[in-house]
Amino acid sequence: METTKKICAGDVRSASRLIRDLEDKLPQARPRLKQLFPHTGKSFIIGITGAPGAGKSTLTDALISEFRKQKRTVGVLAVDPTSPFSGGAILGDRVRMLRHAEDEGVFIRSLATRGALGGLSQAAGDAIHVMEAMGKDVVIVETVGIGQQELDIIHHAHSVIVVLVPGMGDEIQTMKAGIMEIADVFAINKADRPGAKQLQTELASLLNTSALPPSAWRAPVVSIGNLYEPAGFAEQTAELAQKISEHHAHLLISGQLALRMERKALMEITDALKACILEPVLNKLIASGELKNITQRVKNREADPYTEAETIARRFLKSGEIS
């Protein structure tokens, strides 16, 4: 209870520690999350996604400044990859956001993917809840650098910003499914580089030929040039913030926000089910050594994975051993 109060009062230490407990899956973390849940759901959640080095962190930094100008408090979750070999990670997104380090209206927390493949980490959804409970007006979630279809962000964010850079391929790339479909706002970053005009044209053609009804939201495209030409950069990032706010307004007015919240709730319950059914079962099978035996039998073709899974499911569901 104490922790809940502190977090709702905005205490960074307690919030940061709870996020860590959630990442480390400590048993005491889940009850705390339950207590926090009623205090969540009020923040505007923005997802920033795109390829490695596209400029997600730099744009996040610029967006923090914009929202702070509007006197809104900001939480940032920045995801970087975990090494598949050592389990370690370099979390370097903060480097781009140093000027906000001491601003008490800004809470930046780095997360490592820890094996998650959807562009976020398993604890990202929970970490968003913690920041919401702290009362952050805006939560920016920066994904790990992604390719074409690490799209978990759409289940968490209200508005998704896809950051593109010139020179990544021709118009066939822009036609493809996946990342090009999820943008609520496109940012063409490093637009001072060759190929930016072409990318702009291709995006325009993609958006103009889409079969959306007239009332639907059409993802605006914002071109952002060189960070080292501060006047232009500031103007362009302000425009990006403006387009994001317009999208938020559209979600509210059109009723889309409710749909997105519903999609998020569905994902949350699905994830929670996995965490409270699948994980304990796997943990028990690992602890008893059974999983190893089954793996061997399947490898030797003495058993098939489908029957094995059904047998295990029947056993655990009947015995009520899951907890």
């Binding site: 960074v12 230490r13 940061s16 520690r17 996020i19 860590r20 990442e23 480390d24 899956k25 400590l26 048993p27 975990t82 090494s83 070999f85 050592s86 389990g87 370690g88 990670a89 370099i90 979390l91 370097g92 903060r94 480097v95 140093l98 380090a101 001491e102 809470f107 930046i108 927390r109 780095s110 490592a112 820890r114 994980e279 943990n283 690992i286």
Partner: protein
């Protein structure tokens, strides 16, 4: 299945741009399985401490090659104490003359690694001294 992942921050306080050592350490910690928050050069002690708290790290490793360690390192420890975060361990490294060691230990720096210290010895120190913190 819950095991604490060790989280460390590698920071360079002060006006010193020599970050080769800090970067090598950051990678070495990554390879040791730690999560490493890397914040780059030219940090004020206030920035280092704010980031350490937001990231909930177990340990802050400060690197300084400019000679300002006598001021900057103790300042980080003091600020952590002020913020009720003295459970975060602070270690330091860089060009640090031996006659300054005692002064830094007295100020609350838990270990000092100077040129010649092996990467393994630093990782081992962290594993030995950080595990079990909660």
């Amino acid at each position: 299945m819950s095991a604490r992942k060790i989280r460390v921050m590698v920071a360079k306080p002060g006006l010193d741009g020599h970050d080769r050592g800090a970067r090598i350490l950051a990678r070495c910690f990554r390879d040791a399985g730690f999560e490493v928050i890397y914040t780059g050069c030219h940090q004020t002690p206030e920035q280092v401490v704010a980031a350490a708290i937001q990231e909930d790290v177990d340990l802050v490793g400060l690197s300084c090659l400019s000679g300002a360690h006598r001021v900057l390192f103790p300042r980080v420890v003091d600020l952590l104490r002020e913020k009720n975060a003295s459970d975060i361990t602070v270690i330091g490294g860089g060009i640090i003359p031996e006659q300054d060691f005692q002064m830094l230990y007295d100020a609350g720096i838990k270990a000092i690694f100077t040129p010649g210290a092996s990467l393994d010895s630093i990782v081992d120190w962290i594993r030995t001294n950080i595990q079990g913190r909660d």
